[in-house]
């Protein structure tokens, strides 16, 4: 400060200034005697220890993050009827609960209000329901046992839901999409190709597009309704380039008996000869031949 000032003078406020000038030269440290035993100050003593716990957690967490990349499946497709819905794990118990007949359909009011709403509301206002002075859990049998029963129920429902999902996957011969995608990406990279970006793959052009197997048989059999007018895919996978993936025998098998949930069998609608023609034509759909 340029002008002459008494260096010991504190800023003095006049008028209605709300800042009070206090003197901290003789503050007594806060009292640590309210609790028995060895108390310590939050900063720095305790915070340093807490930070050590935090660092251990952080290291474990980062190891998980690095070793297990966050999953990503295929782009959302509202027409995909075969996809098995899967909420995040901490919602599974609710998801499962609301599947039971007495908690859904005609009983949905019971399921939502009684079995889900009521417990959550009780939890919200727990201090006003459990007003006793006793704090030790073994002296509060009602509150503690209600909580323990709920915990067991939540764990059980979560387990059932997950188990159910695994079985459904197995029954449909499906692999979770993020795993399938990862495997495919790894294969492509190993084969020296660029990592495929789902939905942005270049589909090979059609080979022998004027073959009657396509223009007549496949068109009449409605293959294009699902696989796209140019076999570019849509509700069902693209069939251009399918010759690189499936052999002729596999194609015959797929068309005759269907595949998964979406692909119908054609053994009733098409003759073995027609299926053979289609399979022959499809097996020629190779990326190399298309160039």
């Amino acid at each position: 400060m340029a002008h002459k000032h008494d260096p010991n003078e504190k800023v003095v406020f006049v008028g209605d200034s709300r800042i009070r000038k206090r003197d901290y030269s003789n503050v007594t440290p806060p009292d640590y005697t309210a609790f028995p035993g060895k108390s310590e100050a939050f900063i720095p003593n305790f915070l340093l220890k807490e930070w050590m716990v935090g660092v251990v957690v952080l290291v474990g967490f980062l190891v998980l993050v690095i070793s297990e990349p966050a999953p990503l499946g295929y782009p959302a497709d509202p027409l995909n009827s075969a996809f098995i819905p899967m909420p995040d794990w901490y919602f599974l118990f609710l998801y499962q609960l609301l599947k039971y007949p007495y908690a859904s359909g005609d009983y949905i009011v019971l399921g939502i209000l009684g079995l889900s709403g009521l417990p959550f509301i009780s939890l919200l206002i727990a201090p006003f329901l459990d007003t006793g002075k006793e704090r030790r859990f073994y002296r509060r049998p009602i509150a503690s046992s209600l909580m323990l029963v709920s915990l067991v129920a939540v764990a059980y429902l979560t387990w059932v839901s997950w188990n159910h999902y695994e079985h459904e996957l197995e029954a449909n011969g499906q692999v979770p999409e993020h795993i399938e995608r990862k495997i495919k990406a790894e294969e492509a990279v190993k084969a020296g190709k660029p990592r495929p970006v789902p939905g942005k793959e270049k589909i090979p052009a059609m080979v022998a597009a004027d073959d009657p197997a396509f223009t007549e048989t496949m068109t009449q059999a409605q293959c294009i309704a699902c696989h796209g007018a140019e076999l570019e895919g849509g509700g069902a996978p693209a069939l251009r380039g399918i010759g690189d993936v499936l052999s002729k025998e596999e194609l015959v098998e797929t068309i005759t008996n269907g595949k998964g949930q979406g692909m119908p069998p054609f053994k009733e609608t098409l003759s073995a000869e027609q299926i053979d023609q289609i399979a022959t034509w499809l097996s020629q759909q190779k990326a190399e031949a298309a160039q």
């Binding site: 220890k49 952080l58 782009p75 497709d77 509202p78 939502i112 727990a126 201090p127 007003t131």
Partner: protein, 223 residues
């Protein structure tokens, strides 16, 4: 130099009592794991906060690349995951942190419940804590849709169907969240706004209340 700067500010704003209060408050023996190992259960609140901070920071970085529309959302996440330097780590932290924060919060809630710490005079803090719990679940639900892959899409669809089956209000809730009648473009932008602005705002306000009450009341005494 810093001391002078500090004094200059302190003279004008009287900031010393604010941080002295936080720094000097006592941490009693019964919650200090250095004295009683079993007191580690009292760490879960602090760890929840730690992971919450990780979520907020990693989320801020994610929004630098994430694009909330149905055509680009998936590809922006894919790009982030595979092309951006450290993108996989930032996304991984946010993804796994979202689960970990629920676990920690759950353990913290159980600690408070089984030590009976929600009893008078701490009823209000328990209620605020439960509201935090619901906000966290809301963050999990809205965040799950954002990558816009099939898992996200169908989980949101069944989630909103369940919301729609709530008696009387269900249809309104569902339409409000959907931004229409289907899970689509509107749903994604809505969930994005809720996930990134509405709920974190509510969370921070609730956390401020939570911590203020803990400081005012002190930690509950030994059992």
């Amino acid at each position: 130099m810093f001391k002078n700067m500090y004094n200059w500010i302190d003279e004008r704003l009287d900031i010393t009592p604010m941080w002295r209060d936080i720094a000097d408050h006592e941490v009693p023996e019964h919650v200090n794991p250095a004295h009683h190992f079993s007191a580690f259960v009292y760490c879960f609140g602090g760890l929840t906060f730690f992971i919450t901070v990780i979520q907020i920071l990693s989320g801020m970085f994610l929004t630098m690349y994430y694009v909330p529309d149905i055509i680009n959302a998936y590809y922006s996440v894919d790009y982030l995951q595979h092309q951006v330097a450290f993108g996989a780590i930032v996304r991984g932290m946010h993804h796994w942190g979202a689960s970990l924060v629920i676990v920690m919060m759950f353990l913290h809630t159980l600690r408070v419940f089984f030590t009976g710490s929600y009893k008078a005079p701490r009823e209000m803090n328990w209620v605020v804590g439960m509201l935090i719990f619901f906000v966290m679940l809301g963050l999990g639900f809205t965040g799950y849709l954002l990558p816009w892959d099939n898992k996200a899409y169908y989980a949101t669809k069944v989630g909103l169907e369940i919301a729609g089956s709530v008696p009387f209000l269900g249809d309104y809730i569902k339409e409000l969240m959907n931004g229409g009648t289907i899970v689509g473009a509107q749903t994604l932008t809505r969930f994005f706004a809720i996930h990134v602005f509405f709920l974190p705002g509510a969370l921070l306000a609730l956390l401020a209340g939570h911590f203020f009450m803990i400081r005012k009341q002190g930690i509950s005494g030994p059992l």
